[in-house]
């Protein structure tokens, strides 16, 4: 009796388990996908073809009942065919990136069952991947680049003609002269660091202009200037800058190339080296102007510990709080670029800053106008008039980038 009960239970369990298994696709019922198309992918360098299709009737979203779609590619309608890719069921698109620009390709798409039977649709084509001159999805980038460039060039031309272009004085610039004077009075050297900025960083270029101002003051007062570098190319540019600056007040004899030295390209190796220079040479003033990472606080705290007056400036947003906490003056972000313009009065720098300023003014007005429009559109939408909301959203979408 027990054996009979056990057998019945086993049979019942097996039947229940079998009932939960998906019904396999019966032979002969696998249908191919419909409406297969293959077209050149837009806005690329001719390196892709977009293949799309309509789902096979057997593709009902069950992965155990329908495996997926195999996409085959051939240089001719007659073949030979090679597999370009495979996507799971439910997908209706595939981008073939294994193609070359200018070549002709034909495609077919096969619905594949779990037992690897396939039902093919196609071939379709020819599809010829071609490079596009313009990426139409980036028209907004083109418009903004053109607008910004126009404003900057316009202001540069005005500056070149000698038109007086006003820039407000940047707080902290006076501190540069004060710091050099204080170090001179104390008979101590001045240390200047670019941080981990490379020559291609705009902030490093701006820092070179400020270094020139500092070096001129050092040459006038006969104060030693130390510039330890993380990047050898920045070091070369700094040597050029300081050498020219020392010649300006007629003191090229004071220029020491060895004072503008290379330490290492390792972040914390550089920080350790600068710390060592600070604690041993005890500079009277330290300038941290450039691009900094985690070494910013280590170096500025060390500078603070030896009692140096410290002036910092960077566009590295994460490091600015540490400079503000540990330095006497901090130039925040674009203030540093503005400071270099204020010092140098070079038409190109001045024009760039003024052009950006006009652009910022346009942004301020634009944000304010859009805030009013957005608020009105939400209110009107609640009142049953969604037209303005659609316009507001369309404007927002125009700024989307790919």
């Amino acid at each position: 009796m027990k054996r009979l009960m056990a057998s019945l239970l086993l049979i019942a369990w097996w039947q229940a388990a079998a009932a939960q298994e998906p019904a396999p696709v019966a032979p002969g019922t696998l249908e191919p996908p419909g409406m297969v198309t293959a077209v050149d992918a837009p806005n690329d360098e001719g390196q892709a073809v977009n293949v799309s299709w309509e789902r096979s009737p057997q593709d009902a979203g069950d992965a155990t009942a329908f495996k997926g779609y195999r996409i085959d590619r051939a240089p001719d309608r007659a073949g030979p065919w090679t597999e370009a890719g495979f996507v799971i069921g439910g997908k209706t698109q595939f981008q073939d990136t294994g193609v070359r620009a200018g070549q002709t390709y034909f495609y077919r798409v096969a619905a594949v069952a779990p037992d690897d039977r396939a039902a093919e649709a196609g071939p379709v084509g020819p599809a010829v991947p071609r490079a596009q001159w313009f990426n139409t999805s980036r028209v907004n980038v083109l418009v903004f680049t053109g607008l910004l460039s126009f404003l900057i060039i316009w202001y540069i031309e005005r500056a070149k003609r000698g038109e007086p272009l006003y820039i407000r004085k940047i707080q902290g610039l006076d501190a540069i002269d004060d710091a050099v004077g204080r170090a001179t009075e104390m008979g101590k050297p001045i240390l200047y660091s670019f941080g981990l900025g490379e020559i291609r960083d705009i902030v490093t270029v701006a820092s070179l202009a400020i270094l020139r101002q500092v070096a001129v003051r050092c040459a006038e007062h006969g104060t030693e200037l130390l510039v330890p570098n993380w990047d050898p190319i920045v070091m070369a540019a700094a040597q050029e800058t300081v050498q020219q600056a020392y010649a300006e007040p007629g003191r090229p004899d004071l220029y020491k190339e060895g004072n503008i030295s290379f330490l290492t390209t390792d972040q914390f190796g550089y920080a350790a080296g600068v710390d060592g220079m600070i604690v041993r040479q005890k500079p009277g003033a330290i300038f941290f102007l450039g691009y900094f990472y985690a070494e910013a606080l280590i170096m500025s705290e060390t500078g603070h510990s030896v009692g140096a007056i410290q002036i910092a400036g960077t566009t590295a947003i994460t490091q600015l709080p540490f400079f503000i906490a540990s330095c006497d003056y901090t130039l925040i972000g674009e203030e540093m670029l503005a400071a270099s313009c204020y010092i140098k009065r070079d038409p190109q720098l001045l024009g760039s800053l003024k052009g950006e300023d006009l652009f910022k003014a346009a942004l301020i007005l634009g944000f304010a106008a859009m805030a009013v429009m957005g608020t009105a559109s939400v209110i009107l939408d609640n009142g049953g008039s969604p037209g303005l909301l659609r316009v507001f959203r369309a404007i927002g979408e125009w700024f989307a980038t790919v």
Partner: protein, 207 residues
Amino acid sequence: MTSVIGTWIAAGLTLAIFSFLYRDNPAYKFAEHLYVGVSAAFAVLYTWAFDIWPMLVEPMILGRGVADPVDRWILIVPACFGLLMLARWIPRVAWLSRWAISLTVGIAAGLGITGQIQGILLPQIRGTLLPMNSIDNIILVVGVITTLVYFYFSVEHKGLVKAGARIGVVFIMASFGASFGYTVMARISLLIGRLNFLVTDWLHLFR
């Protein structure tokens, strides 16, 4: 045995660097000079092994991995610009190094303009186009506008501009405060990692 020696050297150098917290001392000086020297030497080897050899010597001189002769010999151009940097050692032709520097700066500026507009400026503009129908949106829009006012350099900070700039400074400082706290947390986790190495890997106090 090798790993034990390595652990002891690492622990000793860690303590030597930490000793700077007390004051400058010979142990710190040794560790500092060792670190700077080793990292500089490593950078030279790294540049040779990962830049010059695979990106210049192998494709151009040995002809590996390049089928098109144009792709192979076009590398002479960057190679020449790289050699121009060495002209700094010869005072009479030191000015030639400026060509290489100019090229680097020019390319970086050109690429940077579109990169910044596409990657930073446009997404931020899009994120700021908001209706003023929630506290979050009001804070965001007012914060962006007043911060832009602070960084507007063409007018003196007086009157309405001054008021706007001051509000902008409040937003900037609030952002810096949050960033400060966040970064300090990250630094403390680095410290914990180093102390964990000392007490676990070196002293074996914990498993």
